[in-house]
């Protein structure tokens, strides 16, 4: 197992190097650079050249590439021009917010999705199954940001402006104005209150995908001999379902978990944009539009590392959870 992990980690190094090179080339080819943020139309050529020099952009591409790769390899992610901070400091600010949002959404989505899948499989072909099938398919087929817009429209705008409900949800941001003056308990509730809509949006979309996998996995397991023999021995249906079938039916979900690991950190780009949630996703979109290339490159590289780690984690979990899968080589 250790040897397997080490071998996979060794294989990941050339992959990540290739990704880093590709990213650098792509960003290099895009017209307009970070200097655009400071340059105005009335500037003289000397000033423009000075700006370029200050940013280190006057050097040849090859030198900049080598310099970037070596500094990243040493853990220095560079300096974010648009935010006037080291990239690492930017990540330090936005990563916790993203983890809070996507972490709680993923946990809820897995619990709800698996619950729905198990319920459907237990009552296969009943009206409950068919009804849930259509519901799940519906949320699976929606653009997440549209769902977010609709939720804002109803629970934020509609509740406040149209129908005059006794409560309405915040449409954006992390906290209310005057947060600093609140007592601790109220601060906690305020943050929670701001999370409701974005987390709900994410959960609805993610849980739908998970439920589809969970249902298929459960049905597959319910057809096997050992389940039939457990039933034949007179075990209660409930025990067979939850104790015998459920753990094995979760195996395919390990792959899904591995696929979602990058999302956990890279953030939900669209949901963060709709709800003005200052996390990784929104930061990356802003970095792209301000041509903050050090930030774009570092964020993308982080994403790539997480994709690799996610795959690795999934394979390792499989080996731990399923004795039929063993990595000897």
């Amino acid at each position: 197992m250790t040897r397997f992990l080490l071998r996979r980690l060794a294989l990941a190094v050339p992959l990540l190097l290739a990704v880093a090179t590709l990213l650098f080339v792509l960003v290099e080819m895009a017209p307009g650079g970070p200097e655009m943020v400071w340059m105005g139309p009335g500037m003289t050529a000397e000033v423009q050249a000075q700006i370029r020099e200050n940013l280190g952009l006057d050097e040849p591409v090859t030198i900049r590439y080598v310099r970037w790769i070596t500094s990243v390899a040493q853990g220095d992610l560079g300096f974010s021009h648009s935010r006037g901070q080291p990239v690492a400091a930017v990540f330090g600010q936005v990563l916790p917010e993203t983890l809070l949002l996507t972490g709680s959404a993923l946990v809820l989505a897995f619990v709800i999705g698996i619950g729905i899948g198990v319920l459907q499989a237990a009552r296969q072909n009943s009206w409950v199954d068919h009804g849930l099938n259509l519901t799940v398919l519906f949320f699976y087929s929606l653009p997440a940001f549209w769902l977010g817009i609709l939720l804002i429209l109803v629970f934020s705008y509609g509740a406040q402006v149209r129908w005059d409900w006794p409560f309405h949800m915040p449409a954006s941001g992390l906290r209310s104005i005057g947060y600093e003056q609140m007592p601790l308990a109220q601060r906690f509730l305020d943050r929670l209150w701001h999370m409701v809509l974005p987390v709900t949006t994410l959960v609805l979309v993610l849980a739908a995908g998970i439920a589809r996998y969970a249902r298929t996995g459960m049905l597959e397991v319910l057809r096997t001999e050992y389940i039939r023999s457990a039933r034949a021995r007179g075990l209660p249906r409930r025990t067979v379902l939850l104790r015998h079938a459920l753990p094995n039916s979760l195996l395919p979900l390990i792959t899904v978990l591995g696929l979602y690991l990058p999302v956990l950190f890279s953030g939900a780009v669209f949901v963060e944009t709709v709800f003005a949630w200052p996390g990784m996703g929104k930061t990356m979109v802003d970095a792209v539009s301000t041509r903050d290339y050090p930030l774009v490159l570092a964020g993308s590289l982080l994403f790539a590392v997480l994709v690799v780690l996610g795959n690795l984690l999934a394979d390792a979990l499989y080996a731990v959870a399923d004795p039929r899968v063993r990595h000897d080589a």
């Binding site: 992959l15 590709l22 792509l26 519906f138 929606l142 429209l153 669209f270 990356m284 792209v288």
Partner: protein, 290 residues
């Protein structure tokens, strides 16, 4: 367990398509796809107004649904229903083109990787790993910046980021077919490797790719809508209409964002129903019910 694979000619897909007739949900899906396709094709005939000409700026701007405009009008007084109909052409065309192109790239590369194996296999599959590990957003800005935003560029970027999935599917199928009798027979007859790959292996390995393509159309429409939402989209596509609406719903014009989203959801659900139905037929083990 040996599937009845024809040695020559088309895969047994057309007969399977007919078998979809037995699946009621898939029938709904097919009907939905058919309806939207017809409406899109007939958009110039069906649409009551021109999608681009602004209406009377004093009278027609941001009218709520009702009367002559049953889905309301936008900020320039254009009829939302007419814009949706013409938008269907753009969105469907972009999605179909992107899915077809990505499947074509994936099938060729995955086929070569699976059949030739060795060095080719490593090259193709490691490239796929790299593509999957690069965030789409970054690929996107680079390609858009290079090619200028155009429908063709969007199709290209969507295809270039999505080919690894069909490539993996076809490679897995071909690995399982490679040593079957009919392939060895073809090799014994001295057919070229190209001919064996294109005429014998790929047609027999296409079934899972077709299922993935059907499910991929809806996924691609959502993706394209996402691109439009970030400001890099095809004009008049549903995603672009949605973005227009998103910028104005806080003045109360909910219909601008609502209807394009419903259209996207409707088409995506339809394609997914067909895809689920196809998958059930191809892989009876996963059948969801009679």
């Amino acid at each position: 367990m040996e599937r009845n694979v024809p040695v020559f000619g088309l895969p047994p897909v057309p007969s399977k398509l007919i078998a979809l007739g037995g699946n009621r949900l898939a029938q709904f899906g097919l009907a939905g796809v058919f309806a939207v396709s017809v409406l899109a094709l007939l958009a110039p005939v069906v649409a009551p107004f021109d999608p681009m000409t602004p209406g009377d700026l004093a009278r027609d701007v941001l009218l709520p649904p009702g009367g002559r405009h049953w889905m309301g009008t936008d900020q320039l007084g254009r009829d939302v229903w007419s814009r949706l109909l013409f938008g269907a052409r753009v969105s469907l065309l972009v999605a179909l083109a992107a899915v077809t192109l990505s499947a074509a790239i994936g099938v060729i590369l995955g086929g070569v990787a699976g059949y030739l194996g060795g060095w080719w296999d490593t090259l193709v599959m490691r490239t796929a790993d790299v593509v999957l590990a690069v965030p789409r957003l970054v690929l996107l800005i680079a390609v858009i910046a290079l090619l200028q935003p155009s429908p063709a560029a969007i199709v290209l970027i969507l295809a270039l980021t999505q080919w690894p999935a069909p490539a993996r599917l076809i490679r897995a199928e071909i690995l399982s077919l490679r040593d079957r009798d009919f392939v060895q027979a073809a090799e014994a007859l001295g057919f070229s490797r190209r001919r064996i790959l294109l005429r014998h292996l790929i047609p027999n390995a296409l079934a899972p790719v077709l299922v993935a393509m059907t499910l991929g159309v809806g996924h691609t429409i959502i993706l394209e809508a996402g691109l439009s939402f970030l400001g890099i989209g095809v004009p008049l596509s549903w995603g672009e209409l949605l973005r227009d609406g998103q910028q104005r719903f806080l003045v109360g014009a909910w219909w601008l964002a609502f209807f394009p989203g419903v259209a996207i959801a409707f088409v995506t659900i339809s394609f997914n129903l067909v895809g689920d139905g196809l998958r059930d037929i191809m892989d009876p083990r996963q059948r969801s019910g009679p």
